[in-house]
């Protein structure tokens, strides 16, 4: 039972989008800040910092999670996935990302990273997810540009393409 003192940093080892990384964090560092400031993964956005807006949503060990409601020291040994890991390779988009572009499911893009992580997790957990499930999961996000309808259309398009076996574009 090691005790990490408030003014000490410790090494936190985990995998970020499949790559093993190790960075130092003090006890109070939020995972959202850790990803952005220590790992340089600025795709994860920071909005409300109390779990309401959803902008910082990422995947921890396969489940969706708010990075701002997690301490960096909690994810020792965990598998972290962020929006940077969605595209199959530079210059190509995932099916979901491509649907967002075609349906104008983003304007300013601030909320987009978190919404993509939630929907990507939903579609991998529940390939048969319907509009009710999509709206349920979207309920955990705030978007102040789109009015949500284009996001729902993009999500429905993406899930139907994924079901019919379309791969990333």
């Amino acid at each position: 039972m090691p005790r990490l003192r408030r003014d000490e940093t410790t090494s936190v080892r985990f995998t970020l989008n499949g790559e093993a990384v190790s960075r130092r964090a003090d006890p109070r560092m939020l995972l959202s800040d850790f990803l952005r400031h220590e790992c340089g993964a600025t795709g994860t956005h920071v909005g409300c910092e109390h779990g309401v807006c959803g902008a910082c949503t990422i995947r921890i060990d396969g489940t969706m999670a708010r990075a701002c409601l997690t301490l960096a020291v909690q994810v020792e040994g965990a598998e972290i996935e962020t929006v940077e890991g969605l595209a199959p390779e530079p210059g190509r988009l995932s099916v979901l990302q491509d649907a967002f572009r075609r349906h104008h499911a983003l304007q300013c893009g601030f909320c987009t990273a978190g919404i993509l992580m939630s929907l990507d997790t939903l579609f991998s957990d529940e390939p048969e997810a319907d509009e009710v499930r999509i709206r349920d999961v979207l309920g955990g996000h705030l978007c102040r540009c789109t009015g949500y309808e284009p996001i729902v259309r993009a999500a429905l398009d993406a899930v139907s393409r994924l079901r019919s076996g379309k791969t990333n574009v």
């Binding site: 039972m1 939020l30 910092e49 301490l71």
Partner: protein
């Protein structure tokens, strides 16, 4: 919005966590899923000297089901309970209320015991525990005790938990035969804090109604099988008895209206389940 400085202890066993709680004399907070504690830390409504992480303690996420009572341990996440096999039959009220607890993204991390320890007046899980007559199992270096849920919640985010204790588990009694269960909630957005939430249990002879989001603690009443205008009158009296307040989300009048209308529809739904 960053937490104040604190020491961090990752406990390897329940005993270790209880050691820290005993040593810190009330200046330690338990971190399980973090979905209630992290906002409190970030907003600096909580500034503990030590945070004790119980997330790595083995076995703290194994549900026990004994004699219809569901024993939910400290590490069990809300999303895990939601998909617990047979929950809809054994605990229909929990199955109906859990989808209203936070968002899918917070249920994936948040624990059932953590929500009860946090004791937010709008929390669905404290409401269910009170409605079902469940109990809270507390552990400390001094020993263990069990507190009736109806005595556990003592005020706004305050409970009967002593400074050196932590919630080890919750006991949710199973559904009674010959009873109908229903849960309804009104909020500005699904998953936001409840403005009013209602749990109803209806049997052949009685109506039990529990209301969250209005008072500092869940309020419960037991009535005979009222119907028609007698039920309206009882709900109206309840709406006025609960000391509703104005806040940024809703004024007193809306809350009273919701107690009457949600109360009526939730009782009707529970009655249909009974029939």
């Amino acid at each position: 919005m960053k937490p104040a400085l604190f020491d961090y202890v990752r406990a390897d066993s329940l005993d270790e966590a209880l050691d820290v709680l005993a040593a810190e004399q009330g200046d330690a907070r338990v971190l399980a899923g973090g979905q209630s504690l992290l906002p409190m830390l970030s907003m600096r409504l909580a500034r503990p000297r030590v945070v004790v992480d119980i997330g790595r303690i083995p076995g703290l996420d194994v549900i026990e089901a004994a004699k219809d009572v569901l024993v939910v341990p400290a590490g069990l996440r809300q999303a895990t309970l939601l998909v617990h096999p047979g929950l809809e039959r054994s605990h229909p009220l929990l199955a109906a209320a859990l989808p209203w607890v936070g968002h899918a993204q917070t249920r994936a991390r948040g624990t059932v015991c953590g929500s009860v320890a946090h004791a937010d007046p709008s929390g669905e899980l404290p409401l269910c525990l009170v409605a079902l007559g469940g109990s809270v199992r507390l552990a400390s270096k001094r020993g263990r005790r069990s507190v009736d849920a109806r005595e556990f919640f003592t005020g706004l985010m305050s409970t009967d938990r002593r400074e050196d204790e932590m919630i080890e588990a919750l006991a949710f009694p199973g559904a009674k035969r010959e009873a109908g269960y229903a849960f309804r909630e009104f909020g500005r957005r699904h998953g936001d804090f409840a403005i009013v939430s209602v749990a109803a249990i209806v049997t052949a002879v009685a109506i039990e109604i529990s209301v969250g989001g209005v008072n500092d603690v869940p309020a419960r009443r037991v009535w005979p099988r009222l119907d028609g205008s007698a039920l309206d009158d009882a709900l109206n009296t309840l709406a006025w008895e609960l000391d509703a307040r104005d806040d940024i989300h809703a004024d007193q009048r809306l809350r009273r209206d919701l107690v009457r209308s949600l109360g009526r529809s939730t009782i009707a739904e529970a009655s249909r389940c009974l029939a």
